[in-house]
Symmetry: C2
Subunit: 493 residues, 2 copies
């Protein structure tokens, strides 16, 4: 093969400057082999001619050739030179001359049918490029989180961490963090458990996902509060289980309705401390009734406590788990609402007989949680910063709901009847002049407010039109501004 | 009710000192109500008598009473006192007098049948309390990871992070990290993709889990390399899919066998750069054959590159993804083997048409990856530390496999024929005098060595007896010590 032929035939694309030169040459030559510019059995151009033509060092060309050889695109015959391997492009007809292109039809491979179905409903929350906007409901007060303190604790933990913390970690979670959490839930939530019953998760969401996947079989029935937390519903439904919406009243989930609608359900999902989104506390007799049903039906209960720490009248209500003498309650907690969302750490308190299985299940899902983050959080808790932050936030949020309520009573009178939430980081406002909370929310969103219609959380049992308003994440000025904007939006129709 | 009766009847357990006094009293009184020591309709002891008897302040007793009232255990009649609520313990017969105990039968609720079945096989790796032990195979050189540098980068990132990084993050991953990874895989692995095609995961394990769950339907067939990575097998099997083991030879997965055994499989799992555990590189014609099959069968391919960066002869082999013109390859990478295990960050490069669905799927599983960790890693990459570390480790591991091979040739001659691995962080040693690698591994484990029998990774196609030996995680002295201990162990039978 003459130099001239080589120069004409290959017409390689010029190097992009982003890759090493040897990799560029390798990719281009491979492309030429794959699309037939260099045919099976053909002799490869000499390293010398390629080096000359493309102003490369011989060494660079040799590296590219070695790579083609190593990957089987070429073969070398001693003292005869290098040839394109015979089998390689067999069956591939060149339809394009783009480097490395194989002429394959575009794949029609798809997601599973079921995934296509249920992923349609899943709403991806936007990234928070800003914080503190009225009336974002899924963030705590990021404006008041002690970021400098967190950075200092983190720096100290990282400076002192033994190298073993960088190695493979505990599937159930970092032991000192499990101990710190066991102590915290014992003292603050009345939950009695050993550190061994605690599995660290990447937030409550992962806990719900793990429970759903490993406890539910296809077609099992699940009691879900209606209205209720839609992301829990979607996650549990993704397992193939059948969701049975159970109505909620001022005492929480109506257990009698559940008993009637799905007496043999395998799981009940409840938010007893502060029902999402209605904000009611499950009454003592409902709690007992629920446990009694679960014991008789051999069902599990998920107790999701996402913001029970924030209670503005009296003390936080004790967890349902504290009444569980039959070992059917899985308590789910998260630090995302108590500290900050981006942390992605939460936990489950499991009945003892589930611990081993869930530790195994966890290794299939993501091996173990990130150890350094857990070490930082453990230090933050044991040094008392966590408790201090919670106390401070409890007071701050109590003030913020007061600000919201006062401003709403003044400016939204007759339009939106805002509930003076007794707990949590969000509340409801009942719409007085709109029939569709969906339309009202859209109107508010057009004015740049973040509000969610209550109807988004109902499945089967309609509620009067209402808007969900987050108050914990916004400072007083922003809350007042938000109320004023909302008043204009809801009155302009 | 006289003071004396009160004192006798309630017999509360003494405070433990761990809880607030009000919570202790509340818990004890609630226990008394629930087990019938205080019966429905009975008058509650006076706050004064309780304060006297247990040396509490009246304020403490009042807080406990308020809580019981708030939770519905008691009711107060104006100027008549506080009574135990009538409905509460209805149907609960006291069988125990432990506080807060409800007499419920122990629950027989269970995991789903399928989970019980497959979780049996899952091995939970022990926590690494020590590092660098011969011959651990799942850790890189933690002893040489620049922990001080990592801590400094982390401190700087945390000090400068805007508050919005503490808020809700991007479900697909932190954008600057996605950009850094797109650049890295383009330059180093030849993978062409936009940052939008990259989804950050908590390690390769989560990527495999996500792909399996959302791509596979029950009873779909999956090609798995045999021998192959058992944790991938377990994860994909957990979806309910049927695993079809496909034999592997010196050119990698035997595509013809796959075509024959399961021509309509939905997914093929392969490790083309450095087959796990055989260490072979998939040849060019096998790669093309695999892609051609996938295109015709509308199947997906998972390309799992867990340690392709570490190649000791020639350059790293280009990714299979670079040949994919039909959009069926999902490339899975991880930082746990390139940096350190505890980091728990990895990524997928997705064909464009999967991006939206996988972003949704991800929110159901754990909302989003921890943002601050991602910001630290992004900085570590863009400052060049990542590339530097990889180059350094490539040299170190090449030295370490030399040390292992030299020592083994000297001391294990005739007993174990150690392969001079050309890539990766582990190698195989073929047993010359043992018929069962399982027994040989047990013998070595008794001497404190970490070795894994090859047979652990075979499903259907037997291999000659061999041991898997990690060499990247151990320093030369430990490798030599390990070889000496192993020689004694394997010869003493």
């Amino acid at each position: 093969m003459s130099k001239e032929e080589t120069f004409q035939d290959l017409s390689l694309n010029p190097p992009s400057g982003k890759q090493d030169l040897w990799r560029w040459l390798y990719t281009e030559l491979r492309g030429a082999i794959l699309d037939g510019r260099l045919k099976p059995g053909a002799r490869m151009p000499s390293t010398r001619s390629l080096a000359m033509q493309y102003s490369l060092s011989r060494g660079t060309v040799v590296v590219a050739f070695d790579q083609l050889q190593a990957e089987g695109y070429t073969r070398t015959e001693v003292s005869a030179g290098t040839y394109v391997a015979s089998g390689v492009p067999d069956g591939f007809l060149p339809t394009t001359r783009r480097p490395a292109a194989l002429a394959l039809p575009t794949s029609k491979a798809a997601l599973s049918k079921r995934a296509q179905q249920f992923l349609k409903d899943v709403e991806v929350m936007p990234v928070s490029h800003s914080i503190g906007k009225a009336f974002r409901s899924y963030e705590p007060a990021i404006d008041l989180f002690p970021v400098d303190l967190w950075a200092r604790v983190a720096s100290r933990v990282l400076r002192r961490a033994p190298r073993s913390l960088y190695a493979h970690g505990n599937a159930a979670g970092y032991q000192p963090l499990r101990r710190a959490i066991a102590e915290y839930v014992g003292a603050s939530r009345g939950v009695h458990c050993s550190p061994e019953q605690i599995i660290i998760t990447s937030g409550a969401q992962q806990a719900l996902d793990l429970i759903g996947r490993f406890i539910l079989s296809t077609s099992d029935q699940v009691w879900m509060e209606d209205p209720g937390y839609s992301r829990a519903l979607q996650t549990l439904r993704a397992t193939g289980a059948r969701i049975v919406p159970i109505p909620v009243d001022e005492d929480g989930l109506i257990v009698k309705a559940g008993r009637k609608l799905a007496p043999k359900a395998k799981l009940a999902y409840v938010t007893p401390a502060n029902q999402f989104p209605m904000g009611v506390t499950m009454s003592a007799d409902r709690r007992l009734e629920l446990l009694r049903w679960a014991a008789s039906a051999n069902a599990w209960i998920i107790e999701d406590e996402y913001d029970a720490e924030y209670r503005y009248f009296g003390r936080p209500v004790a967890a349902l788990q504290t009444l569980d003498s039959c070992g059917c309650v899985i308590y789910v907690g998260t630090f995302t609402k108590m500290l900050f969302n981006a942390l992605r750490l939460g936990f489950m308190v499991l009945p003892e007989r589930l611990v081993e299985a869930f530790t195994s299940a966890r290794t299939l899902v993501d091996l173990h949680p990130p150890t350094l983050d857990q070490a930082i959080l453990a230090e933050f808790i044991t040094e008392g910063h966590f408790g201090h932050h919670l106390r401070r936030m409890r007071q701050t949020y109590a003030e913020r709901i007061d600000v919201l309520k006062t401003a709403a009573d003044k400016h939204l009178n007759g339009v939106l009847d805002v509930v003076h939430a007794g707990a949590g980081i969000r509340t409801l406002g009942w719409l007085k002049t709109w029939k569709s909370d969906h339309q009202a929310a859209q109107q508010a969103q057009k004015s740049g407010l973040e509000v969610t219609p209550l109807s988004l959380f109902t499945t089967k049992y309609d509620q009067p039109p209402a808007l969900m308003l987050g108050f914990a994440s916004c400072n007083p000025a922003e809350l007042r501004r938000g109320v004023s904007v909302l008043a204009t939006a809801l009155r302009s129709r």
